[in-house]
């Protein structure tokens, strides 16, 4: 997989190797000068990324330093106001709460998902093949569901009127759940969101960690067992250190993904909870920016989301670059 040929001058790696002695047909004068080919090849990708990502990110940075008020909605150009928007995020109770809620929600979800996923992967590693396959197929089906379909089904399951969750709760003897509205109070709203997000994210973690577990050699574990290590010790002292790279990567990905839970929150809000009490970063930016045209503040929030993402993504990207010897 790895192309470890040392980087030559611009030009095709192997062409340099093989083509050198094979006459002018390959190494014509055009090729000797500057090799345009790779640049032509990446041009379309670079163009679309510049148009749809780089330009907006630039616009966003600039806008985050501008003031958008009522006057701007009537066509006045926005004026620069320095760091005001950023300062407002930190000092305004409402926006700061949104930031704190989002970060806490993201971390809780990411850790829960990785913990449960790792648990399921360990379980998969101990059970007989037919049962493992059954579990894997069920997880795969859940994983494959499009997020909008996931949200409609869970809205139905948690429906206050005829929802199955309330019915189950009553069967278990908790009568107060008759017509209970789970989405009314913020805390219960976030608990429901957490259940849904963990449900839809666990399969990825479980499969990834399981793939890592199958690489752990049985001999090492056996040796440890002979030396007297019990199950828990074998797991924490041997298995976890060996699969640490996988765990770190799924945790990072999960943190990045759980920061972007727009669809889930938005579609739970559809069923009648107060957006102002349940907003996380994505839905807040949507309401403030697209809904109310407060571009400056919303842009500052977006920049904040991007910065957190880049910080979280850095170790992941570095490990990919290293592993693939780029």
């Amino acid at each position: 997989m790895k192309t470890k040929t040392p980087a030559r001058d611009a030009g095709r790696v192997d062409a340099g190797r093989v083509g050198a002695g094979r006459g002018p047909g390959r190494g014509g004068p055009g090729r000797r000068g500057f090799a345009w080919t790779p640049y032509v090849l990446i041009a379309p990708a670079v163009a679309i990324l510049a148009l749809a990502l780089a330009y907006p990110v630039g616009w966003q940075l600039v806008t985050s330093f501008k003031e958008f008020g009522l006057a701007q909605q009537f066509g006045q150009p926005a004026e620069f106001n320095g760091l005001d928007n950023y300062i407002k995020i930190v000092t305004t109770g409402e926006t700061w709460m949104v930031v704190v809620r989002s970060v806490v929600f993201c971390l809780v979800n990411a850790f829960l998902t990785v913990a449960i996923g790792t648990g399921l992967a360990t379980l998969m590693n101990t059970i007989a093949k037919p049962i493992r396959l059954t579990l894997q197929i069920c997880l795969l089906l859940a994983w494959a569901m499009p997020v909008v379909a996931v949200m409609t089904v869970w809205n139905w399951l948690f429906d206050w009127n005829h929802g199955t969750i309330n019915w189950f709760a009553i069967q278990l003897g908790a009568d107060q759940y008759w017509h209970h509205n789970w989405l009314e109070k913020p805390l219960s709203f976030y608990a429901v969101a957490t259940i849904i997000i963990v449900w839809m994210s666990v399969p990825f973690v479980a499969f990834s960690v399981y793939a890592g577990l199958t690489q752990v050699s049985g001999e090492v574990l056996e040796a440890a067992q002979i030396d007297g290590a019990n199950g828990w010790q074998r797991f924490t002292r041997i298995v976890v250190p060996l699969i640490r790279p996988v765990l770190m990567i799924v945790l990072l990905l999960q943190i990045i993904w759980d920061l972007r839970v727009f669809t889930q929150i938005r579609m739970l809000q559809d069923r009648g909870s107060f957006p102002s009490q349940t907003d996380l970063l994505g839905t807040y930016i949507y309401r403030e920016g697209v809904g109310a045209n407060h571009f400056g503040m919303a842009a500052a929030m977006s920049v904040f989301v991007l910065i957190i993402t880049i910080i979280a993504a850095w170790p992941y990207v570095r490990s990919l670059m290293k592993q693939e010897a780029i």
Partner: protein
């Protein structure tokens, strides 16, 4: 000891089956409810098997008219996204795996970072840009954003496939008299087909399922399937929701996705964490 062990084994199996049931239940519930009439769904206790069910919900959903428009919109956007993504990403993958050039490393780094950037941190700026280009509520506007969102990961995925095919193969064919283009299309391209299929399905799934950008850029009557599906639980907040119809709509959107996803899941996962597992 051995008896205790066996008990543990049985316990683990029972636990695994219980967990499997929990995870599959919502999927099953969607399909089950989609066959049942509203009278059964609103009864005091749930109906767990779709006996006596019918296709009425599906007929009602499909006859509402706006399904066809949404399907067409989703198909157009998805096809454009898949086609352009594959083309752009394939060319770029070729460049980074077969050539050494100045700026290559920065390009790969940029691709990897961009792949991580969330739509939630970008949609505001993209909305403002698409609005100033007068492309709100158009297939073109949404497609531009989707292509840019999917290209990075696809480049990374295809890079692995291209790098996996030794360049020597191509050279051998050239020694035997094929031109460079001929060698590429006769030798390398067929070997790449699985990679292209996997990447194509990935692009398809991303474009087909996407919600956030579509919600922001399509604000009129033009809707993609996810927006159309959301409309069911949204519009009915005034009156009683017909959950049977909602679940039928949900099933219509989900089933093709599940089929495709199950087909390519292995490839996609290994792309994401391959490096880590190889350790």
């Amino acid at each position: 000891m051995s008896a205790l062990r066996r008990l543990g084994r049985v316990g683990a199996s029972v636990l695994a089956l219980a967990i499997a049931l929990i995870w599959v239940f919502p999927v099953y519930w969607m399909i089950n409810s989609s066959f049942l009439p509203n009278t059964k769904l609103t009864a005091s206790s749930p109906t767990f098997l779709p006996f006596g069910g019918s296709l009425t919900n599906f007929k009602l959903v499909l006859s509402q008219g706006n399904f066809g428009a949404a399907l067409k919109m989703s198909l157009f956007i998805t096809l454009i996204t898949v086609f352009c993504t594959l083309l752009f990403a394939f060319l770029a993958a070729l460049a980074i795996s077969r050539y050494r050039f100045k700026g290559r490393k920065s390009f790969v780094l940029a691709v990897l970072f961009i792949q991580m950037l969330p739509a939630e941190g970008l949609f505001l700026a993209q909305y403002s840009m698409i609005r100033s280009m007068n492309l709100l509520n158009t297939v073109m506007g949404v497609s531009i954003i989707y292509i840019a969102a999917v290209v990075p990961f696809t480049v990374w995925m295809l890079r692995g496939f291209v790098a996996g095919i030794p360049a020597d193969l191509e050279e051998a064919a050239m020694v035997d008299g094929l031109s460079r283009t001929g060698a590429f299309f006769r030798i390398t391209f067929p070997l790449l087909a699985p990679g292209l299929v996997a990447s194509g399905v990935y692009a398809f799934l991303q474009a087909w399922n996407e919600f956030t950008v579509a919600l922001v850029l399509l604000q009129g009557e033009t809707k993609t399937l996810p927006l159309w599906l959301r409309g069911f639980i949204q519009q009915s907040s005034q009156h009683e929701i017909d959950w049977g119809q909602v679940m039928a709509a949900s099933t219509l959107v989900a089933v093709p996705v599940i089929v495709f996803f199950v087909l390519v899941q292995g490839r996609m996962t290994s792309g994401l964490v391959a490096g880590a597992v190889k350790g």
